[in-house]
């Protein structure tokens, strides 16, 4: 078992527990934005895609990496754009009357 694995598992377990505690507190009102926001955050796999694509190890790995760059960046951009739009729509009674 590689040494990395244990430290990775450590991080994973802590993050998963923290995630469960934080997400339980998200208001059901915002469950749709929650899903689009976590999707956008998850698109951070882009950093791995950039490294694979930029390393130029084999032609295949470069091509797969580049497709992953496009797919994950579209998730990142799209996810943030739509989350922003959705949250902008949630207004209280007073704010809604003003607009």
């Amino acid at each position: 078992m590689p040494a990395d694995f244990i430290s990775s598992l450590f991080v994973f377990i802590l993050a998963a527990f923290l995630g469960i505690e934080l997400i339980k507190r998200v208001s059901p009102l915002l469950h749709t934005p929650l899903m689009s926001l976590t999707n956008a955050l998850d698109a951070i796999v882009l950093v791995a895609a950039i490294i694979i694509a930029g390393r130029h190890e084999t032609r295949l790995s470069t091509i797969l990496g580049l497709i992953a760059v496009a797919a994950s960046f579209s998730n990142m951009v799209g996810g943030f754009v739509i989350t922003d739009r959705m949250l902008g729509m949630f207004k209280t009674g007073k704010a809604a009357k003003k607009s």
Partner: protein
Amino acid sequence: MNPADLQQLIDVTYITAAIGFILAIKWLSSPVSAMRGVLIGEIASAIAVTATLFNPEVTEYKWIIITLIIGAGVGVPLGLVKMTAVPQRTALSHAFGALSAALIGIAEYYVAAPSVPKFEMAEIGLEVIIGSLTFTGSIIAAGKLQEWLPQRPITYKGQNYVSLTVLATALILMIALVVHPEYTHLFPAMIAVALIFGIMLVTPIGGADMPTVISLLNSYAGFSAALLGFVLSNKVLIVAGALDGASGFILSVIMCKAMNRSFTNVLFGAFGQVQAKAAGAKEERVVKSASPEDAAAILAAANKVVIVPGYGMAVAQAQHKVRELYDILTKKGIDVRFGIHPVAGRMPGHMNVLLAEADIPYDRLMEMDAINGDLPQTDVALVIGANDVTNPAARSDQSSPIYGMPIIDVDKARTVMVIKRSMAAGFAGIDNPLYYLDNTLMLFGDAKKFVSEIVQQLSGSGH
């Protein structure tokens, strides 16, 4: 700066990003701080991505920049879709997320093959299997939600056994690769089987179960990213993947509870079949119907109104008309609130977003438990395009397939009005005893048209 220092600096930006992600979700706990959450998420992602571009291993930029532009070109329009299209957009983004995770895993494999150490092989194999099945599963889900594919469950005899055999095959191929890393030709076979399993997993699931499925796929997409983090020893992927995976998992649990069903039941239950039988034998019963004039008069005489929206409101695009109704009733001094069932619509929170888009203040949107206590004191419950989530058989009829499912108790209101196209059974094919109650009035017609006729009546008689 020497490469070792630079790498450390990049790692620091990853830690910063991880903190940003955690804060982003923390601040989503309330609509007041949520905007700040998105902003910090954006900043965190931007920092991590920018730092990665300076990674010394990255030597070629031209194609990366081109694909980033393509990604933005696809992502921005997907971020600007109509609110009614959000469920399919979300399914599509699960597909993209899983696709990128799977492709990176595949690339890693082929760079290292055939001499992949056993442990890494197991990690990559699992990661690629989950990524691949989530990819095709999400595409099918998106196709169903977009109505390119039939929304009804597609089932056949022995389906569950066939599906499980396919999944087992993928896992066996993975194990074979761990034992014999030199059999590299098994790798594409494993991917193909996982892709097929994804299709088989979602095809039998009906539209009404989509909120659970979309949450589960969200969870899988997250966990595939986290597993990729294990493969690459990249901690920021692990944190983001764990948060996304946990989020999808909790949402699926909430959705299952809201339908009083287990995960296994959603995935292997073939909901539609049971109900077709249940709806078979029913006697002719009388329903009372009413015109827009009657409905308007009853609403105008009420003090407290609760509107219960469902997927039908989204299909009819009636949310803006509902807002007009809300405005006109509120102006008359009537207390109007919305009762929102957790599984109303096609994804968690779907109705809230649609109503918020129509400028209905979010403090009027009540959760099921919050509104149920008030329904006995409510004059009128107006059901728009919702069916099973208001079915009192879930409380009383033990033989009903939805028995035990928590519902919005609209039948306890003094008058119930249900806007519905016809008496046809709901999505799940279950008869709804609500429609035959003495205090129920059926308003037959298209939701949007009917609501606007009520609004006309109310504004005409208002002077």
